[in-house]
Amino acid sequence: MVTTEAAARRTDTPPRPRRRRGIQQTRGYRAFQVANGIVLTLVVVVTLYPFVNIVARSMSNEAYIIAGQVNLVPRGFTLDTYQLVMSDSLFWTNYRNTVFYTVTATLISITLTTCYAYVLSKKHLKGRGALVGIAVFTMFFTGGLIPNYVLVTSLGLKNSVWAIALPNAISVFNLLVMKAFFESLPTDLEEAAAVDGLNTYGILLRIVLPLSKAIVATMVLFYAVAFWNSWFAAFLYLDQQELWPVTVYLRNLIAGATGAENVGSITEANEVQAEATLKAVTIVLTTLPILLVYPFVQRYFVRGIMLGAVKG
């Protein structure tokens, strides 16, 4: 990818004659368009290939994989491994955990972020600068792994959902995006509501939030994807395998960790379909939900990022 893109920039200069001859630079530009098309096609192919490959491996017979013959299409098509993985109760337990952790953590995050962003968006508020500074400083300096671990452990949060949800409850980036959005809302509605006797909580719940559905949805997605994908906090703080999210299940599988006893028993149960397909199937099954919702949520992400960038 690296070299082809660099090459494409260079093809800008030497023009390649093509069809009618126009002005020199028009021909050069056409050549560039062709090269550009090739480069972008390569980008698409390189991005998508690993997905195709993993699906092909997941549906192939182990023998063909070991022989190094599986690339784009499954060889010796079989869905046995899917059945094996899906019959592993630990896999489903871990999947349920992922859903549970994601929902809980996202709810906490969105509540805290909305409250704080709303407060920070009030320009007249005394001490606002300090409140912003407290948040922004943590973007550039953090306590680090060890003190965090000591803290979470001594608070007794280990082996509970709180160890995952609380230490990362507020993302400062999301906070700033939301603050920028609240600042862009017209103030007259809120002032009118205040005159009508609504208090701050009422204004936030009944006036501001209904106007902010789009940004709240975007933030929920940002948080949900982050928690869905996270594994390290769970890896660090959850000792029992019934508590793991599915990312840790996959991690232990690819790391060949001793913790995954159930997987071992699966492989023994079926000697033909062993490791390589197991990994591929687990990767496919963990990626699938993301791939399924991705086309529908992608634009919200883009919008959220744009908002943060342009307003910030």
Partner: protein, 325 residues
């Protein structure tokens, strides 16, 4: 050359100015509290979050200067001064991982900073809207995957029976166990990083590109500039603020090079090139249970990171007039 810029830094907000001017003092605070107490009450829980989970661990770093016993006081037992800092400064492994961190950080910056700009410029030249949107959608996709999935895919592609080795064998080479070879780790790390981040990295540039005034291109054309010169003299200056901002942010994460990804991809065989400060302190902390030593290393890393981002910001403000704050 100089033109109005609408896209500014994504990280706004000045760092904390000290709260109340002493003169106005208590009286206005009392008035502010009386008027806005409901607003302040909404800030309580978030503030507790920041104090407990962000600022308390910063204080927790004192264990880098104190003897710490697991299960004991979270701020350690007694002072030992700079003992742990002296320890790692004389630890040859530390200097090895320090070098690895710098090399991986520099390589990441070298590829993952400019490539999104190149890709954004290429996308910007696509005239068919649907094709452009399709390429964008596809290139954003890897950003949404868990790092575990990315690592798993890397392992599958690079395994002895994986696609890369099939290509190697088809061209007459012998299969290489890439992930067992220290000389390959940097290539693997950087290319998987490129795969995962470059597409998503174009978003901000594409946003900045739409804000460039068409009249500028018009003027450039009248002056006889071809496409290439238009890109050089109009487009690039137009996205310069975005470039500077992202460069500063990238430099800020320089020291923290993909800790999680390395943890997933490395193994004792590849430690010579793959082990970085954060993974080393992870092992010191959790495999050898030497928390104070690990905290000292972590503090050192965090301070360097802070210094880097502050100086990058300062330099950017002095030289090109764009900065985060």
């Amino acid at each position: 050359m100089s033109r109005p810029t609408t896209v500014t830094s994504p990280a706004p907000g000045p760092p904390a100015p000290p709260p109340p001017p002493p003169r106005a003092g208590r009286n206005t605070w009392r008035r502010a509290l009386r008027r806005d107490w409901q607003l302040y009450s909404l800030a309580i829980l978030p503030l507790l979050f920041f104090l407990i989970f962000r600022y308390l661990p910063m204080l927790g770093n004192v264990i880098a200067f104190r003897r710490f016993q697991p299960g004991g006081n979270i701020f350690g037992e007694y002072w030992v001064g700079l003992r742990y800092f002296k320890m790692f400064l004389t630890d040859p492994t530390f200097w090895n991982v320090f070098t690895n961190t710098l090399v991986l950080g520099a390589l990441t910056l070298l590829f993952c900073f400019p490539l999104p700009i190149v890709l954004a410029l290429l996308l910007n030249e696509v005239r068919t809207g649907s094709i452009k949107r399709f390429v964008q959608s596809v290139s954003y996709l890897p950003h949404f995957l868990s790092i575990v999935i990315v690592a798993a895919m890397v392992m599958q592609l690079l395994s002895v029976d994986g696609t890369v080795n099939q290509v190697v064998q088809a061209t007459g080479g012998d299969a290489i166990p890439f992930l067992q070879r220290p000389e390959w780790f940097r290539t693997i790390y950087v290319s998987s990083e490129v795969w995962q981040t470059v597409g998503w990295g174009t978003i901000l540039y594409l946003a900045a590109l739409t804000t460039i005034d068409d009249n500028l291109y018009e003027a450039a054309r009248i002056d006889g500039a071809n496409r290439w010169r238009q890109t050089w003299h109009v487009t690039l200056p137009g996205i310069r603020p975005t470039m500077v901002t992202l460069l500063i942010l990238n430099i800020g994460t320089f020291m923290a090079v993909g800790f999680e990804k390395i943890l997933l991809l490395y193994n004792p065989l590849t430690y010579p090139t793959a082990d970085v400060i954060s993974t080393y302190l992870f092992r010191v902390g959790f495999a050898s249970s030497n928390f104070s030593y690990a905290a000292a290393i972590g503090l050192f890393e965090a301070v360097i990171g802070l210094v880097l981002v502050l100086s990058a910001n300062l330099i950017a403000r002095r030289t090109v007039g764009t900065s985060l704050w």
